[in-house]
Point group: C2
């Protein structure tokens, strides 16, 4: 047994943190073989292969014992005929290993516009996007004197990213923002799990619940329900725009931030910018059954193959992966070596060297420098996580319909395309509903009530929401009467969209219009 | 005639920029009386009245001739019985004057949760929210050595803020994101108008068109159509998350940013944070018929009435208002006096004085200091706008339905609540449609295709999108057949939402699912 492999064992078998050199002798004596971790490497496109090679080299030197399976993905796989850049063998290997280190993937031409990244997240229910933003030593930013150490936990599969869009009229487009209670609870659980694993003390929920009371409100409520089960971790709520404001004013005040998909997309790139940019930002995409770690940056085709790329972001992602796999000690060892390298500033790649006025080094030289610093400890290195992150299994694949909610139908919203004004439309709609069990209750245009009452000084789109109240509360909406109404509406307007108005436990499951 | 009123005239009659003192004699000789500007002041709640008083005093001293009408609004008006905090007399006066300077308004208890701010914007079609972010001299921020001088032009009335929400099931909430071509074109026009008035050279459109190809895509397309008509102003596009990243990395690179409502909400608070925070941030809400200027900050009830509040944000808003009203010279005079005051740091309010280690002054003393600096010129003051901002009138109140788009119906999406799995649902749906002119084409859950083909490793909500294709392309969807289908679906699931699938000029006016 070489010293190196003894060292490997010393690090890999330690689950409690950094193993000092003194433990090596003991490791050598103990015959316990550390478990090897299985992982799929997706080198990806552009600079992907060269940074992956550098990172794998550092991981081996750092004592992380990993059985790698290298698979095709991205534009290169797409070019070989795999639609969406994901060959089925790749998906199979990922499902087997449950752990992926991913380089940048380009969206190929044969994907119908669907990105391999999004498809991977959706397909494996990688519902938690964990994006740490920590000040890196020696990286020059406006915040380099601030103690930034936060994590954004972004919901990763629902919200506007479900991508459900319908042209309502040739001039009005609609995208559905969908928020589920289970999805919101799961991401809240993930945020608290991150806080626990990292030994963090506060989780901030960020939402726009003040405006979107039902959808963002559901997210906030689900978060609060979960927060109540973690009495040892503080929690609070912040309006998302205020969060963006506070993050650039005093980022050191934040710990864990939990937010919805679209808002989290913006916020997590903002926080990456605070500590040096996407070129240095790692990301984890976690689900109950699979975890994927990646650099956030693109494939940088302009410098691909030249040995100039910075592998730091992918290395930070790999360190997250080691921790996920329980390799806390080797993760810490490698992280310290990286921080020492950044601190001392020798052999940095051009993107990091140039702002410091030092001489740029190659990807390979940088990796060599990190390797040569293995075993050294950095003063700037953040506190090591206390344990691996364990995400709760979510609910079963299919959530049973909640039987306990008392329901009745209050009516329908029918969205129509109409070229006239609100008075004309109201009169046509009233005539259409006259002998039917529906009463015209309200018309709004772009969310603003235009009937009944004063017509506001606003411009109108050719897209109107027409709210019909059921004459009497009903258990079941009469589809045939509705069809008659819709068919009559078709004589003067084009209906494009119908929403059932449900009362749930006596409260309206729908919003009222501005001005109503 | 006093020297002061002669000065007033000298400044107010000049439309071309700063009027040097030498012009005073000429102004005294000319008998031309400068036009007085009408404006409504809404002091609002909390610190509103005291900062409004300070700002009005500075405006008078600065030679801005304004006929003020002071009106009730906000929680105080709400307490007197005006629902949504907006008495009808206030709305009438605003409509008459067309120009408003607004203090912070609290959302009162009797408003049904609708904010007076949002209602004002919607009611008067204040579609453009203009939020400048300029480095202020002496204000300590991480970016104080950066030349930040940008403007965010945020669409202000549509998008998710239409607030159209429907609970789809007790556990799935939906908010409609609605983007119109006319609304998008108008905000793009406003962004270019800002660029022209300010003598700026570039407008950046920020969107998430890469994911939301129809809705955010429509915004981007409309922007590009408008940009083509401004060959003298450069334009580009940036993905919104990348914009957030670039803004914290290199905010000095930006000029005018044009974006949608929700994204703009986050981005404009971010940019305010870069230059000192919301406490110093002015905002204009502009429409073709009315303009409202406000501080972005809240009513700060904890310090209300104590004479401690900082009137800078409201003063910057008032300066924007003067420019809108054509009072370019007095605006510039007051802006220089403010910048000189901030530069020199005497008599600053506590929020600005404390970080600089200087002695805090009262609201009144700060206003006195600005007044005493009138006539002095600041080196740090940004270049003065070249002309007043003139927004194009939008289209007529009602947009006629576009007759030129060739349309046919491709089918329907029926969204249902169902507690079973995808195979069971598919089999029920196929049976329901068997003898009808619809074929089950696809089922998706949270945007991910679950039928036909492999069921992905994902969690399912109890909310399913069931896509039925028309057996043959049709001009009119047969409502009675649809009713039969919906009524049969009601036997095993609860439908909550129907979307018509329209072909527009031969292209689908709807998105496909992830994995489809």
């Amino acid at each position: 047994m070489t010293l190196n492999s003894a060292l490997d064992q010393a690090y890999d078998t330690s689950d409690t943190g950094f193993a000092p050199i003194a433990d090596v002798a003991q490791a050598r004596r103990s015959r316990k073989t550390p478990s090897r971790m299985k992982a799929v490497a997706l080198p990806g496109d552009g600079i992907g292969p060269e940074i992956m090679e550098a990172v794998q080299r550092i991981l081996i030197a750092g004592g992380a014992r990993i059985d790698w399976t290298v698979c095709d993905a991205g534009a290169s796989a797409d070019a070989k005929g795999a639609a969406s850049g994901l060959p089925s063998e790749t998906l199979d290997e990922i499902a087997k290993a449950g752990m992926v280190l991913k380089g940048p993937l380009e969206t190929g031409v044969g994907t119908g516009g669907k990105s391999a990244n999004v498809t991977l997240r959706k397909h494996f229910e990688l519902y938690a996007n964990v994006r740490p933003a920590r000040r890196l030593p020696g990286i020059i930013t406006p915040y380099m004197d601030r103690d930034i150490d936060l994590v954004v936990v972004r919901e990763n599969v629902e919200d506007l990213y479900a991508g459900i869009e319908h042209m309502q009229t040739p001039d009005v487009a609609q995208c559905l923002k969908l928020i589920t209670r289970a999805g919101s609870a799961k991401i809240a659980e993930a945020a608290f799990a991150v806080a626990k694993a990292d030994g963090r003390s506060r989780v901030t929920c960020a939402s726009k619940a003040n405006i979107m009371k039902l959808s963002e409100g559901l997210f906030k409520t689900a978060f609060e329900d979960v927060a109540a089960t973690y009495p040892d971790i503080a929690s609070d709520h912040m309006i998302i725009d205020n969060l963006a404001h506070r993050l650039v004013m005093s980022p050191e005040d934040f710990d864990v931030i939990c937010t919805t998909n679209m808002n989290g997309d913006i916020i997590s790139d903002l926080t990456a910018g605070l500590v040096g940019g996407l070129g240095l930002a790692p990301s984890a995409n976690l689900g109950a059954r699979m975890a994927m770690f990646e650099a956030v940056h693109g494939s940088a085709p302009d410098i691909a193959g030249k040995g100039l790329a910075n592998p730091t972001a992918l290395l930070l992602a790999a360190i997250m992966m080691l921790r996920q796999g329980g390799k806390l000690a080797s993760a810490e060892r490698i992280e310290h070596a990286l921080y020492v390298t950044l601190e001392e500033g020798e052999d940095l790649t051009a993107d990091m060297a140039t702002p410091r006025g030092s001489k740029p080094a190659s990807t390979e030289a940088f990796a060599d420098r990190v390797i040569s610093n293995l075993g050294r400890r950095s003063q700037a290195c953040p506190p090591a996580p206390k344990s691996s992150l364990k995400l709760h299994d979510g609910p079963a694949q299919t959530t049973a319909v909640s039987a306990k909610t008392d329901r009745s139908d209050a009516g329908v919203d029918i969205f129509v395309e109409f070229g006239g004004g609100p008075a004309e439309l109201a009169s046509c709609l009233k005539a259409a509903a006259a002998d039917l069990p529906f009463t015209l209750a309200m018309i709004s245009n772009r969310g603003l009530k235009v009937y009944p009452g004063t017509v506001p000084m606003a411009d109108f789109a050719d897209h109107w929401r027409c709210r019909f109240a059921s004459r009497a509360p009903q258990d079941d909406l009469p589809e045939q009467d509705l069809a008659t109404l819709m068919s009559r509406i078709s004589n003067f307007a084009r209906w494009c969209h119908v929403e059932r108005l449900q009362m749930m436990d006596g409260a309206p499951g729908f919003s009222v219009a501005q001005g109503q």
